[in-house]
Symmetry: D3
Subunit: 337 residues, 6 copies
């Protein structure tokens, strides 16, 4: 059981039920989630001692967030209260040929307006072994850009393992703005979730030779990434093949010490809710690293965790280590009774 900190926004997600369009709906299902919150919950369900650092409004929605974190055994000591509102978004869950649609209403959120001086990083990082943040956090405001950089630097100073997930959101910032910021952050990162598109469009790498198999291209990008930032020791990503909104394939990639490890290809059919699938994967990678899992086992575990997440509603991966391992080993099975 290790002490872990994640820093990010948690939002209210309001999903349309019954395969309707949002403009036809009269009922919404509430979930709370956000990239770093999801990683926190997942690692806590895996048995670690996780602190989620964020800011939520002092109203019933804030209380709900706090209660959910506690129910998942995530520590709320640094879940600040105040500010104007909880970031919110509306989700039409895609099905078959119809893609999911997100309608954001997240501006002016308490977290996005957090000021650096509200957090005492020395206190937050005391005794911590792992710090995780994603590209969403610096995308939210100038303050949060500074805070993210400061936190990564401070973590490195203290010898804490640092993890960064690109998580590029086109609705939050341009590729150029993201590039400038993320390039400043990467020198302080040990573990990195970074996909092919991130390599090309954010980091500006030349496209790999089109004739290469996909995994060769990834080796090329990852080798280059480590050339650029030799501090990065572990890289992860998934190959997701979108057959329809209901059917995807998923294969996990894990790159360390110059080697690429790939999981088998999971056929995910049919998808209940894919939001949070990437965070479940990231949490799986982090768990494997903390547990010193062999690389093949690690990528199998992380990808299985992500695949399972697709079968439950809500952003959180609520499966235990045992459940993930059983699934990674046995696959979809029969009813045990």
């Amino acid at each position: 059981m290790k002490k872990i900190v994640t820093l990010g926004e948690i939002m209210l997600r309001l999903s349309v039920n019954n395969s309707e369009k949002l403009f036809q709906a009269d009922q919404l299902t509430m979930h709370y989630g956000g990239a770093e919150a999801n990683v926190a919950v997942s690692l806590s369900n895996f048995g670690h001692d996780v602190y989620f650092v964020s800011k939520i409004p002092e109203n019933p929605l804030g209380i709900a967030v706090e209660r959910q974190m506690k129910a998942n055994s995530v520590h709320t000591d640094y879940l600040m209260k105040g500010g104007e509102r909880l970031g919110t978004y509306y989700l039409e869950i895609g099905v078959g040929q119809r893609s999911s649609q997100v309608t954001y209403d997240r501006k002016y959120s308490s977290f996005s307006m957090l000021r650096t001086e509200e957090i005492n990083l020395d206190e937050v990082f005391s005794g911590v072994e792992l710090f995780h943040v994603s590209g969403i956090t610096p995308a939210l405001s100038q303050n949060l850009k500074e805070l993210t950089l400061l936190a990564l630097k401070k973590a490195k100073e203290k010898g804490i393992l640092t993890s960064f997930d690109f998580n590029y959101r086109a609705k939050l910032w341009s590729q150029q703005e993201a590039a400038e910021t993320i390039k400043e952050l990467l020198p302080f990162v040990d573990i990195c979730s970074c996909g092919e598109l991130d390599a090309v469009y954010i980091l500006g790498m030349d496209q790999a030779d089109h004739s290469l198999p996909r995994e060769e291209k990834l080796r090329y990008y990852y080798s280059k990434l480590i050339e650029m930032y030799p501090n990065i020791r572990y890289i992860g990503s998934t190959f997701r093949n979108i057959i329809s909104a209901s059917t995807n394939t998923l294969q996990g990639n894990y790159f360390t010490e110059g080697e690429l490890y790939q999981s088998k290809v999971f056929q995910i059919d049919h998808i209940v809710d894919r939001v949070g699938g990437g965070d479940a994967f990231a949490a799986g990678i982090l768990y494997g690293i903390l547990e010193n899992m062999p690389s093949e086992e690690l990528i199998a575990f992380a990808t299985a965790a992500s695949a399972l997440k697709h079968t439950v509603h809500g952003d959180y991966n609520v499966f235990s280590v045992d459940e993930v391992v059983t699934f990674a080993n046995n696959g979809a099975g029969k009813i045990v009774r």
Copy 2:
């Protein structure tokens, strides 16, 4: 069928089902409403030709608002699109001893940031016989204060009947700020919804003699109001006695040409949803005035409309003139079959 214009904000209301607290909820029921939108819908259901002037975001929530207005036969020619967001609030519907709780998330709404120059009042008011606005509109921003004043003045210039409902919201502005603004508006108002507390706390009248019966006090306040603003020709309000969140009594008051007319006392038990009850009353008053109803009949009609509204979910009074009249005459009856 007369042409009517109302101007105001329409919000998304998200209500908790099942007598839970908001922080326990995982389902919300969606309704759309706002004081002036509710009056528009009600008058349209009464058979008039109503235009609702507002601004909504260009997203699926905006589309939903537009579709609902159309379903209620309210014209959307002046329902502008743009801006950042739809004002939102969360409602725990009170029951028994527990009061309803409102959690606002309405700042930065498209309507609240509307600029005066976005509306061509000459066009909007062309051929119009009645203009209605409430105190919520000027409370939302400095721009809207100016727009409200401008609209009332312009309407008077054009010989349009004007209606103003105090609708004081403590969470939006202080009594003093409200007083300053409303006193500027009242010289341009023909029809006014104004309660005892408004008279004392907003208009600063001395409290009526405590030993007087309640209707005498009201006569005193209304006479004074008309002394201050001789342009006001019709005043309405309700006496609401809150026995519990589920049980209220309601009596309508209507003051014109120096006479106070009161409806019978309606026992409303049990209340399904009281939000919009005041707007249903205001619309009933306006309908009666437009129809030249005798005053006793008018106040009976308006109060019955309000009482009926309490028996359906959502802000809108969806009853027809026939339904209101039948209820005003016969009260709660047996099953007709």
Copy 3:
């Protein structure tokens, strides 16, 4: 356990949920019921051997009716299949000041088009001790008028106790048409459910002296009824005081051998579903007569049965004799645990 036959229509009832108006609804709750079907279910739940005679279409709705009857242990041997459709109605359940609204869609139903020759009354009545029918049956068609008369005559010939409930429905026939038919039926009736309004408006009695207390008026009507039809041995009715759609009072009346017996006044607050309340009362009366209950006990039982029915959704009184007796003796009580 006695053999009982009831004859009548069973309909699909589609109720609006959530205190909406029917035109706003997108979900309906299904129940099946009808006056004589409800009496059949109630007497079966009280332990008798009941046959329900009717006709339903040969489609899934017909299957549903049949399954429900069987689940309630009502025999379906004479539940014929065929014809065009199941009579249907839509119900907005009233609440507080808003009355329930029924929208009928029952024309051309399989039962309404039943021909007399489809039933072998000799077979149906073999071994039967009680036959019950209501005024709804003859109101549905000329054929059913004839069948009702024939059945009552045949039952009397066979020495079967006969029961007739006026159940006047203004949407089905005029008072005059009802009068003509019912006056033909009454000479063959032993047990009669007949209210004050039936006496005056259907049977054409002079109104009782207005200054008399309500129970005196009833004695007057009932004495007259027995003068007109000396074959009638038992008469029942309820005094229902409608405070609102959610709150009624209910008092049972039972007249036999020249004496009027009245139950206590039940305060029914709040009402879940009053449809079927009259049928639960009629079944209670019939049960008491079959069990030779003392008259005071009988009317207490029947009225308690009706009061309980108001607390569950659906037309059927699903309470057992024990539950009704416990309630009649102890009233609304505390949680037993």
Copy 4:
């Protein structure tokens, strides 16, 4: 924005939720729809000025229909009120190996009993550019046969583009009866939705050579159709391959000026609700013709519109032109956020 008229029945559809059989259900979901109403809604959502001509009862179900049309911006000027009932049907939505089951209760509907003299076709067709009707309308009654013929003739006289969808319903009329009527109508039709089975079983064409590829057979039927009715300028149909009730493939066919254009094959998995899929296709064809889309683009658009319709509940295609085009170009995509 062009003025369009469609003529047909709109029904209440009551669907079983939760993968139950209708006889087990206790909740039904309400939708309203009908072939020509669906086309009207779709063309209105595509931005045209559509009038739906029909007749609905004067009750809350009629009000619901009217409100829905208005919410979809369909004009209701010629939506007559009166008659006995709204046609109704019950739908068990198929899943996997289980087919959808329809239980009709549509006889005696207000529309089916509409008389020709109730419509002033001169007024209805004033300024109209397109008139659409399907084979369901003449199948409903002798009157409607005459009205359909009259309307098509009148439209042609006025130079209006006419569209006819075979929409053969075996539960409404025999193939022979359909053949007689439809052959009378086709001389007045410009645009025709007609499948292989229609060509053989309704129009009595000889079957195409079995050894031909499917599109060759279709070319043969369509060439013959145009030989028979040279007035027909555009023909459309889909090839639907039913793998299961949850999985279909769909390919659109469009024939004009002697050429057959085919869309790509859409894999629709899993299907939310396929009712209305054909109407969405027909509306797509009509939209394309009105917009003078190139034929390849037209058939891609129409088929994409139909495929999208399968992913939402209810008969209506509620997607905008933009949404259809995006989907036609990009297919099922990732979450945009």
Copy 5:
């Protein structure tokens, strides 16, 4: 219509809705079922005269069981009442990659504590043509082991056809305990549902040669089974290929007079609820044997029945013979309307 008896436990099944984990749920869906109860319901829906022998508690859950059996026309004459509780289990219905999870709470149930002397087998078996029981019954208690053996012996004495389904449940007993008991039962069995794993792990047969095709292996096991128990005349089983919790293939096997008959392979996608699928198959086999269906037809019918069961919620196969036959002949088809 033949008289049939089944003996076994019926349980309350509480399923989690909405693809949640049980620990997140706040709503559960209730179904009742059990292997032998399911066979009883299925054979009753196929038109036979079925008696279900069991014991249920004298409480509302027991009443619910009884009502459901009656609704399905299953006789409840030998459904005893008493004991402590109804066996219960919680079900997370699997989806995609996630397997279904069963949480049992079935100990101390009324049925599991049934004593042999509570049943008069002579009375129960009077006039009976078929007796069915599964391996779950003897697994529940020592008493039920004895009762199962006694019942099979008694049935054979009376010339009744006997049917036994292995239904091995690892959570109820060990393979060794099952083996001892089942070997005592098999000499009295005519019809046997027994899979490959049962042959190897319960009956202790040597594994068939791995290089053989699957059907050859089955022939080998079944031939051996009949060598061991020459009294067994009919054997059935299914080959189920679990692609995911949502997608299975299913092929039925039927062995009689030395010949193996196989159905086509059904692709079941997507699965609504597979619990009870095996019982639907067993009932199909029994129906076929009672009807003297040719073996090819029999196995087609039984497998189609099982495939259809996967498309409805709840344990019961509620389809009629007609529906199964139509599906067996035509497969998943289009909407008939």
Copy 6:
């Protein structure tokens, strides 16, 4: 913030929705609760540091209990895992004239089979200021009788304030058995929830003089109780007047230092869920004692807490101190907006 321990059973409660009888239901709502768990949650929501001591099974229902406790900030350090099952009960929530009905299925629960040696009371009680247990705990088993006595003794030895709520459950033990046990416990109790019926039927006091007012009778019983057990320093109870299952009045009583303090009479109409109302009251008393509230204020607070509990679903009082105080001071109020 004081350290508090409660000891007792927590059960799964399965409530019927929609005013149906349990035997008609197909959906159940899940809540978890139990007398001492409810007090724990309430005191935690009031800001104290509460430990709930109990035993739950190692299955998903146990996980759900644990998560809920954590969400309510109750410590689960002594929430043991193991044993056979979670005690369960089914609840038909009463409405109007119909009483709530409880169907218990709680035998063999993990907690009821807890052995004394599983708890280290010295560790549990370290630093604790208040220990609370109710009469349900010793009623569950001989072991728990001994554990309850041991715990109360140990707590007194350590100078911990002890609280005991009679909570007599007739379905768990006889009055005589309760009397024997409780009389052994009371010498170690400081705070006691004890009603009039407890005094007479459990403690065997002579009935107070019938002519006395109710509060005088209570003074008599409480004075006697303190004569018998002079160690008892605080006594609480409520006068609940059951008008119907939907309407109760509630008045709180608090006796200390020879004085009886009574709250005002709360009219609770209509009741959402009264289960847990007594525990909310008990927790209110305990909170007041820990805070040294003046006695009038204390009893107002405790009774207001109980009244509020009746307005939300579930056993827990989820209101904060602020919400209770606001309600105690202002009563049911208007919507604040």
